[in-house]
Symmetry: C2
Subunit: 428 residues, 2 copies
Amino acid sequence: MTTPLRLGIAGLGTVGVGIVRIVQKHAALLELRAGRAVEIVAVSARSKTKDRGVDLSGYAWEDDPVTLAKRADIDVFIEVMGGHEGPAKDAAEAAIANGKDVVSANKALLAIHGQALAEAAEAAGHLIRFEAAVAGGIPVVKALTEGLAGNEITRVMGVMNGSCNYILTRMEDAGLSYEAVFDEANALGYLEADPELDVGGIDAAHKLALLASIAFGTQVDFDAVELEGIGSVTIDDIHQAADMGYKIKLLGVAQMTGRGLEQRMSPCLVPDTSPLGQLAGGTNMIVLEGDAVSQIVLRGPGAGEGPTASAIMGDVMDIARGLRISTFGQPAKTLRKARAARAAVSAPYYLRMQLIDKPGALAKVAHALGEAGISIDRMRQYDHTDTTAPVLIVTHKTTRTALDEALADFKSTGVVTGDPVAIRIEAV
Amino acid sequence: MTTPLRLGIAGLGTVGVGIVRIVQKHAALLELRAGRAVEIVAVSARSKTKDRGVDLSGYAWEDDPVTLAKRADIDVFIEVMGGHEGPAKDAAEAAIANGKDVVSANKALLAIHGQALAEAAEAAGHLIRFEAAVAGGIPVVKALTEGLAGNEITRVMGVMNGSCNYILTRMEDAGLSYEAVFDEANALGYLEADPELDVGGIDAAHKLALLASIAFGTQVDFDAVELEGIGSVTIDDIHQAADMGYKIKLLGVAQMTGRGLEQRMSPCLVPDTSPLGQLAGGTNMIVLEGDAVSQIVLRGPGAGEGPTASAIMGDVMDIARGLRISTFGQPAKTLRKARAARAAVSAPYYLRMQLIDKPGALAKVAHALGEAGISIDRMRQYDHTDTTAPVLIVTHKTTRTALDEALADFKSTGVVTGDPVAIRIEAV
């Protein structure tokens, strides 16, 4: 193991450049820690001439990432291009077919094609590592796959999209509407080119699906994530939640139930004194629960040049040190296809709706909840307008199925105007 | 790698039994994850006949842990006896001499003899792993050594002794004196047989010294830790700190300075809105800072059967999976002897003292601070008694050396009665 580990980097955006910076700055430190040198041999990106602020003159250049992936003189193919089809996928497949280990920051690629890629890599005796794809600089894949390897994992949850947490925090701090903060965040460049990836919860759901696979030994199943973005959260909801001692977070939760694997990414109320409740701004937080360890909480930057490059280099250093571990913590071909359990785990819910202001309106709503088997913990009516009154209800524990039944019934009462808002209260 | 990994466990207290439980309960899961079976072959403890609530009949018994360590049929020697001299040390040395990998939860042993043990193990091509020795169930050694391997670490800090954090939290919540809560905690069995290991900060300092070694590539140097326990923290200090937006924590801090390695374990004021400030009760929290990742925070149970056994099994699973990594993240013989820098990093301080109630007293104290080059941020005099007045001062940034000079000068002013309290305000 005294030969250098030779890297090829496909993608020279923020993260790719961050990797180059670390390898150049810390060459001696990396060699000391790994017991062998870590060298960049070749790079690939769209524009060869763009000034990226780092010296690339010592590396071979490839216009095509697939050609880079096939080079005989690289051991590890680092994929930091992004996109779950096209060049990123082609290049990762080419790298595996050509006997390379792959390190990727590409959550979409892995959440959608991870099973096939891992099977191919493992059949060839090679690794795929993806620490950077989940929660940026937080070594959560490592914590879950290695640190907690003696545990049966019982639940994984967290705030996995910093932009959404920024928006929700900023709404509360400044008393602004969702729309106002969305525009502000977009103008500041905090959101993806397609903002729905962030605010729709898709990006976070990719990460949750990857963590669920590792946690429960199941094939990654992004399509089974119950997905709800933050677009329907109003500043009123945030204030009402605060009044009751809660914060609203876009929370991902994965847990194995008697009915199958439940994966949810949706706005939730969490106690404002909990670590998740206290998480402000663009930071990520993952909560891991296992039968031996009980609960650990990991907090850190979910994105950015340095943190993401740090995660990539953690994977690279593992490979340099000779760690050979299955992509999802156990051989890909032993991962079970999990039955998707929707709405298996019950919880209390926060409900907000507009009632037509006439006698008996509240009773009709209460009746609809009762018919669905849902009991009411507390109820509040406030801020009368001329014709409607906002009503807030906190239910006792119920299933989402029963709740959806009640919400459907609300419409037929003729006293609820518009769509009621229902936000789960998660026990963290 | 399809042969089973064979374990010998020395010590069948809480943690040893926790390991047995995991190996028995999760045999299939461990084999699936590691790609090979993980088996207990032999155990050792003081009493063979004691009922520990687990079935040990399938394992060979050794009265002497050294004999266990030498057995030809074990691959990994798990040391969960405790004590930094005597049987634990002898057995660890015997295991290394007999070609075993060692997994230990013994912070004292490693903080004092870790360098010698690691050199011996590495010379023989074997591993020592000690995740369980630092912060219980939190995989912080792994995060630092592996996850952040691409970073130059700039600072490591944290709350590393749950008992101390419990005492400080309980004092504030119940408005009780240190002595009252100490007695309560002792009666509840929360403290070590020698409570000074907890409240004197020794146990936490062992952990800090181990983390500092990994973080900065230096030989573990427990003796260089500036050590101050929580015994002088009063409920008044806690209330005053709270008034100013701070919590008092027994905080360990290690950082490399221009003058050498500074390691401190002492009560500190931290902002009550920071993750460290929000940490209540017996939980541990470690903050890791690196040049690429910026900051990650890990929180979890610092002790207990399940969490400690979880950490031990994380190490065991790494070995089962074939990870070969140096004890301190780089070869032990390459670890530098760090120069111990005391008081290199300046900070603001909180000072509390009793002044004799006569004209000019406050001016004399202010003069002594000025003479030492220390400027005052704020000052408060409160709660007059007949003859003395408690005075609280927050300084601007100063070195501990300058502060100690001022504190010594206070005595010669003739207006300060008793010993002034000085608590550092740490920027977290």
